[in-house]
């Protein structure tokens, strides 16, 4: 437990030592800010629905960029050897890195809290969907971070890790919209695998244990896969 905390803090600080953090955060804020506010005044609704509906797609590109370095960089410069020969378990390492990335994405969302604050000046804002939206965003971010972590553990090349991560996250994001192409018999399964519908449910302010369970399962599966990859590769 203590080891996880030490690793997580170190990895989290690492983001802010290098310029990556600032570049990724600015990119995220510019993209989401533009797409949200460009239509905001046209619709004239005092809510954040459009902002949250954009998140799955922006996250599926932004988060792999954040997580790509977690293992790949260490493998590339060789510090992976240093890390693995210290008295820490694979689980400590995987969880530490996972929490660092999740914490980083959460801190990336902090500046966007200004949106509901400003909107509340110009209209009545319903706080339920806003709180639900942020909660859902954190679950979604955590799930995508675990996917990115897994992608990073596969290779020593950060670009490859990024592309694998994007492919996986993007698939989960658009799976709901692909149901049309699926055989009728398996639609009911595929329906539940996509991430967007679960996220949309939470961001409406409806907190259903099934949606929470979905995200927790995704996180568990990918962290466990990361563990297996680490184990098999050494």
């Amino acid at each position: 437990m203590k080891q996880i905390k030490i690793i997580a803090i170190k990895e989290f600080k690492d983001y802010f030592i290098s310029p990556i953090a600032y570049i990724v955060i600015s990119l995220f804020l510019i993209v989401t800010g533009w797409f949200f506010f460009s239509t905001f005044f046209i619709f004239g609704r005092a809510d954040l629905r459009d902002f949250f509906s954009l998140l799955p797609i922006t996250f599926s590109f932004i988060i792999p960029a954040i997580t790509m370095r977690l293992f790949s960089e260490e493998k590339n410069i060789g510090s992976y050897e240093t890390l693995l020969t210290m008295p820490v378990s694979f689980t400590d390492i995987a969880l530490g890195k996972f929490f660092a990335a999740t914490l980083f994405t959460a801190s990336m969302l902090i500046p966007t809290i200004s949106y509901p604050i400003f909107i509340s000046f110009i209209g009545e804002i319903d706080s339920g969907p806003v709180i639900g939206g942020y909660l859902g965003a954190i679950f979604l971010a955590a799930a995508y971070c675990s996917i990115g972590l897994f992608a990073s553990s596969l290779t020593r090349n950060q670009i490859v890790a990024f592309i694998i991560g994007c492919a996986l996250c993007f698939t989960l994001t658009i799976l709901d919209k692909l149901l049309f192409f699926m055989p009728a018999k398996i639609i009911w399964v595929i329906e539940h695998i996509g991430a967007t519908s679960h996220f949309t449910n939470i961001s409406k302010g409806i907190i259903d244990s099934r949606d929470i369970l979905y995200f927790v399962s995704v996180i568990f599966i990918f962290i466990f896969s990361t563990y297996i990859v680490m184990h098999e590769k050494n």
Binding site: I6, I7, D14, G78, S79, E81, T82, L84, T85, P87
Partner: protein
Amino acid sequence: MIEVQNLTKNFKDFRAVNNISMTIRKGEILGLLGPNGAGKTTILRMLTGYFRPSSGTIKIKSFQMPKDAIRIKSLIGYLPESAPLYHNMLVYDYLEYIAKIKGIDDKEKRYDRFLQLSDLCGLSSIMDKPIATLSKGLKQRVGLAHAMMTDPEILILDEPTSGLDPNQIAEIRDIIKTIGKEKTIIFSTHILSEAEATCDRIAIINKGRMVADDTTANLKQSIKQNSFINLSLKGALKEDAASLLKSIHSNLDIKEVEPLEKDLVSFEITNSDDRDFRSDIYLKIKETDWIIIQLTKESQALEKIFRELTREGA
């Protein structure tokens, strides 16, 4: 202290380490010697738990690899080859991170340890520098401080002196010797004089196999004809000198070598039995009007053993 039995490691079709067994006692300094690509690093990586052996067992104290991997890892201080560190951290931050992860929780204790280590490894002037800006030798020292952080019982160093300048090599050797008085140390190298100067015991590895494992002194004794005499003369003609030397004893093998300086003639003299011929040579040359500039006995036992054991096809 460390018992290794039938250790083997395969990478796909390539057998990097082949059935190696050895025992290392407490307080010993063991040098792992071998040409490049012999499998030294692979052996060390298995000992430190970075690689899983394909077969064979590793027992350190009463712990078994990989069952007690975490316990074993906390007993060992390891300096990987070319000391891979986190480049974007400051030296102090890096050491603090290592100390925390290795379980030195107390702030005072951590600070005391940093002071000791910076004295021992000469880090005091670089504590506030980013690791990326350090030279190779300085990185190596930070790596050494990392390895010794918890004052571990066993130190494993992978080519600790590779790529360093002669001053730094001497410094690192001094450090190894100082800490080697109380610790068990295993280090790999392909520099023979280094192993000879620092190790109690030498294991020679070639193509994944152990080809020799003995104390330095025993290894030297094991090979005969281990010495030759260097002779340089002034004022002599090559042919005259060679025939004169020949006349001393029929067992002598006289080889002319590149002279040390101009106007000299130099020979390398080997003999097939153990007798020391230096006095005979001196007496013989005293009869002439030549001047002896150099008459020394040289032993290259280790180099010879190494070459014999590791040459192609051996």
